[in-house]
């Protein structure tokens, strides 16, 4: 008699049922769909559905159904042409309310979706799209912080009436780096300077330094402060990139940190990389400044001598020189909203400022009625060029005066900027809304996969999976007869449980991932083979069938455990060190070891005990 504990039967049954349930969403396939998100980013309410549905019906666009999914409206279509028609119509009619994105929606029945069960998301290589890897200049972020400290130090010393020779930022010096150096004259009272600086330079490590021409105080950033600043810059950039990606209306985008100073952006379904990259990587902000009306800009341009307190610019639109006061009334960071709107003077960007900037604006406009104010657009970018065979990168800051106008009324936090083309107004509004990047980012890797190639990859992967599995199933059946069929059932259960785990983890499935599943099928056979060969050996020795089964499972166990640990090591190393698709393979390989151990050891034992355990007169095994 063979026996197997009841709780093990229950465990196997429960795991299998859960596996089927979680893996189920994957079998229904997907339809082309249109995703609608509210432009103000509020979740779409269910009562918004009828309006869109009746609009689509009115336009004669066939759709399958529509529903709300995590705050966004999804409309499913039978085919791609209808989907595209719908997108154009919705973009045209609801352009102020909704941002649209082309997407795929699972055909899985609604009850699965309501339970939060979804199919595995597909990687970019399987659905087409754009992968971008950005490098963030985190050192520049630290430099900005130091510049800020230097400015504060200067101000504090001036307020305290302490004479100083110079305040400089030491970014990467020979003896120290990431520090602010305050050079004091020989007669200076160092302790008074220290007291004055204690508050603005709080937290920095302050040391004295004696120079031939006096003394200096050096305030150095601690490693923790540097790391904090770098992390802050990363986080800020990720948030901004996320906002921009959302503004672009990409469905299911991924923006994530990779390592110390990289951000990877995955945009499924995006084909036009030029447009997207132009917006994603832009470091742009605005400054509002008064025009210097006392001095002549032409004179400043000709003599090359700019009056104190002013800065010379060239007007982007008219090409004429223009002098602006150095004081900034408000900057793009103080914006609470920006939208592009048509106005009497052509396309415009409606600006809403926060309370502080609104107050400053109110004060300025009140005091400067009928004077002129300008808007400066500041863009930073990185350029690589080759000089004498050496690669030189420099950061370039473009400052453009995009608009200047006479202040005709008093306004505070609500006004419009004109003087832009329709496209420029849209892009500027988007950039301002999504916030500015903390530092310059530049692209180090780009991978684009066309949609038909993605479809082709998935078809090939699935075909290889089916044919490979069929081959294995057939051969196992031929070689081990009834026991082979048991192994086949166990292998199938293994694939189901693996698919369930992957769906639960929301790990995106890539082509190497499919290869991993196929490989898991091949390797999961091993545990069964080890057991069956043992059973055969025992039978050859003349042991009774049931005793042979028991001995087979018991004796094979140590070999099965040992041999899986070695593959596990390779899988875990890949998981830890790999990125992208390679990690996808590692995840499948590693999870596959656990699922195959479970199904081969517990599942097949349960099944075999069920088949042979109760028979009193078992004389022959079909193995």
């Amino acid at each position: 008699m063979l026996e197997y504990a009841r709780w093990k039967y229950i465990l196997v049954t429960v795991v299998l049922l859960l596996g089927v349930l979680f893996a189920l969403p994957n079998v229904f396939g997907d339809d082309p769909a249109l995703q609608l998100a509210r432009k103000d980013r509020a979740p779409v309410a269910a009562d918004a559905l009828p309006a869109v549905e009746s609009f689509l019906r009115e336009r004669g666009i066939q759709f399958e159904r529509s529903y709300i999914d995590s705050g966004r409206m999804m409309v499913r279509f039978a085919n791609v042409p209808e989907q595209l028609k719908a997108r154009d119509a919705v973009n045209d009619h609801f352009k102020d309310t909704y941002a649209t994105a082309l997407s795929f929606a699972s055909r899985a029945p609604a009850f699965l979706r309501k339970m939060g069960l979804r199919p595995m998301p597909l990687g970019l290589d399987l659905r087409g799209g754009l992968y971008l890897l950005y490098q963030v200049d985190v050192n520049a972020a630290v430099g900005q912080l130091l510049d800020g400290y230097a400015q504060d130090a200067r101000r504090a010393l001036s307020t305290a009436n302490i004479a100083f020779k110079d305040v400089t930022v030491v970014k990467n010096g020979s003896d120290r780096s990431n520090a602010v150096r305050i050079v004091l004259p020989p007669e200076a009272d160092i302790s008074a300077a220290r007291t004055a600086l204690a508050q603005p330079l709080q937290g920095l490590q302050m040391t004295n330094e004696s120079l031939p021409s006096g003394s200096a105080l050096v305030a150095t950033l601690t490693p923790a402060q540097i790391r904090e600043r770098q992390d802050y810059a990363m986080q800020q950039n990720i948030t901004t990139l996320r906002n921009r990606v959302n503004e672009l209306g990409v469905s299911e985008p991924i923006v994530q940190r990779q390592g110390l100073d990289r951000i990877n952006v995955q945009l499924p379904g995006v084909q036009n990389s030029a447009e997207v990259k132009d917006i994603l990587g832009k470091v742009a902000t605005l400054e509002f400044r008064l025009e210097d009306m006392q001095n002549s800009a032409y004179e400043a341009q000709q003599t090359g001598h700019t009056p104190l307190g002013s800065k010379l610019y060239t007007h982007t639109r008219f090409g004429r020189p223009i002098l602006l006061k150095r004081e900034v009334i408000a900057t793009g960071d103080q914006l609470t909203n920006a939208t592009s709107t048509p106005s009497q003077e052509g396309p415009a960007v409606s600006i809403k400022l926060d309370a502080r900037a609104g107050e400053a604006m109110l004060k300025t406009t009140r005091a400067n009625l009928n004077k002129r104010m300008a808007v400066v657009l500041i863009e930073k970018r990185r350029e690589t060029s080759e000089v004498n065979g050496k690669k030189v990168t420099r950061d370039i800051t473009d400052e453009q005066v995009i608009n200047d106008a006479t202040i005709r009324g008093i306004f505070s936090n609500n006004f419009q900027i004109t003087g832009l083309s329709a496209g420029e107004a849209r892009e500027l509004a988007l950039l301002l809304r999504s916030g500015s990047l903390a530092t310059v980012i530049y692209e180090v890797e780009e991978r684009a996969v066309g949609p038909s190639l993605g479809r082709d990859n998935i078809d090939k992967g699935v075909r290889a999976l089916i044919i490979g599995m069929a081959g294995v199933f057939f051969f196992m059946w031929i070689y081990y007869k009834t026991f082979g069929l048991v192994a086949d059932a166990v292998l199938l259960a293994n694939v189901i449980v693996l698919a369930a785990l992957l769906s639960l983890m929301r790990a995106s499935l890539s082509l190497p991932g499919i290869a991993g599943i196929i490989l898991t099928v091949g390797m999961a056979v091993d545990a069964n083979v080890l057991i069956y060969e043992r059973i055969r050996e025992e039978i050859r020795k003349g042991v009774s069938p049931q005793a042979a089964i028991r001995a087979g499972f018991e004796k094979a166990f140590s070999a099965i455990a040992d041999s899986n640990v070695t593959t596990l090591i390779a899988g875990v190393v890949l998981w830890v060190l790999g990125t992208g698709a390679i990690r996808g393979f590692a995840v499948v390989l590693t999870l596959g070891i656990f699922t195959s151990l479970f199904t081969a050891l517990m599942g097949s034992r349960a099944l075999i005990t069920l088949m042979y355990g109760g028979r009193r007169k078992l004389t022959h095994l079909s193995i």
């Binding site: 060029s385 490989l519 140590s558």
Partner: protein
């Protein structure tokens, strides 16, 4: 059905010198090819541009190549990829590579050859990313080998088995690298993943044989080592062949049906699995034997108390 109706008794240990010779020869050949020809590293490791495009008819590879050269791209590589209508273009890394301008240029060149040519895929990898991936791949390979060495040393109590396993395990990726170097098949990140999987699988077989050796010695400590090893390999032989055969079925399915993207990956796996089967049968145990493995090493007799050493 059974491969071997009766228990086999091949004298593996007696012929081991021949197999050593074969392996040493293969290793030397791999090393020479690796040193002289190197690997055909993909842009994952070198940085650069990789693009695939589809034509409506048979692609004119030469026209595309000369178009690229005329447009100022240095040493472009253009090859058919999967079918005669698909091509892959590889460009070495350049100073200021901008994917947008490259795409525009490429599309222009392709359209000149065939107006309805389509760029299917465009990868641009910066040189520094390539360097990093190279380092992390080396780390992955190195740390896997070290971890496995530690595992074996702990699991089998004797360096003789550990050494056998490690040499057998290194044998397989070296052979894969050698063959990739001889055929100049593109060596990308997926191939590294395949090699790591191969290391795991190859060891898998060795471990099963070692497990049996331990069992043989456990039942009979006085068994002559060479005989114990022969018996162990023979007793696990049908399992080794069966498992590897079945795994090869799926890998062959991947190789022929998985498309060109997975070709390198599946080739590396197939070579590795075959090499792994061979090395775990012929190499790993034989090395342990030549290192003087006996039952004593696996099951040390319990020493008597330290009092023995006292006069």
């Amino acid at each position: 059905m059974e491969f071997f109706k009766k228990q086999t008794s091949f004298p593996f240990m007696a012929t081991r010198k021949w197999w050593y010779g074969l392996s040493v020869l293969l290793m030397i050949a791999s090393g020479v090819s690796f040193a002289t020809r190197g690997l055909n590293l993909a842009i994952d490791f070198t940085g650069g541009v990789n693009a695939t495009a589809t034509f409506t008819q048979t692609a004119n590879v030469d026209a595309v190549r000369s178009g690229l050269t005329a447009a100022g791209f240095k040493d472009p590589q253009v090859q058919n990829f999967g079918s005669s209508r698909d091509i892959v273009i590889r460009l070495p890394p350049e100073g200021s590579q901008n994917a947008t301008t490259i795409r525009a240029k490429l599309e222009g060149i392709l359209r000149a050859v065939d107006p309805s040519a389509q760029v299917q895929q465009l990868d641009v990898v910066g040189p520094q990313v390539g360097n990093e991936l190279r380092t992390s791949a080396a780390w992955a390979l190195g740390s896997t080998l070290v971890l496995i060495f530690l595992y074996i040393a702990v699991r089998f109590h004797t360096w003789r088995l550990s050494l056998g396993a490690i040499l057998a395990v290194m044998h397989d990726p070296i052979l894969v690298l050698g063959i990739f170097s001889v055929t100049q098949t593109s060596f990308d990140l997926a191939v590294v993943a395949a090699i790591l999987a191969v290391i795991g699988y190859s060891l898998n077989d060795t471990v099963v044989v070692f497990d049996r050796i331990r069992e043989r010695f456990e039942t009979n400590r006085r068994l002559v080592p060479a005989l114990a090893l022969d018996q162990s390999i023979n007793q696990t032989l049908s399992r080794t062949i069966m498992t590897k055969f079945v795994t090869s079925i799926v890998v062959v399915a991947l190789l022929f049906l998985g498309g060109p993207v997975l070709r390198g990956f599946s080739e590396a796996l197939l070579i590795g699995i075959l090499a792994g089967t061979y090395s775990s049968i012929y190499i790993s145990s034989a090395i342990a034997l030549d290192c003087g493995l006996t039952a004593e090493h696996i099951f040390p007799t319990v020493r008597k108390a330290a009092a023995d050493h006292l006069p």
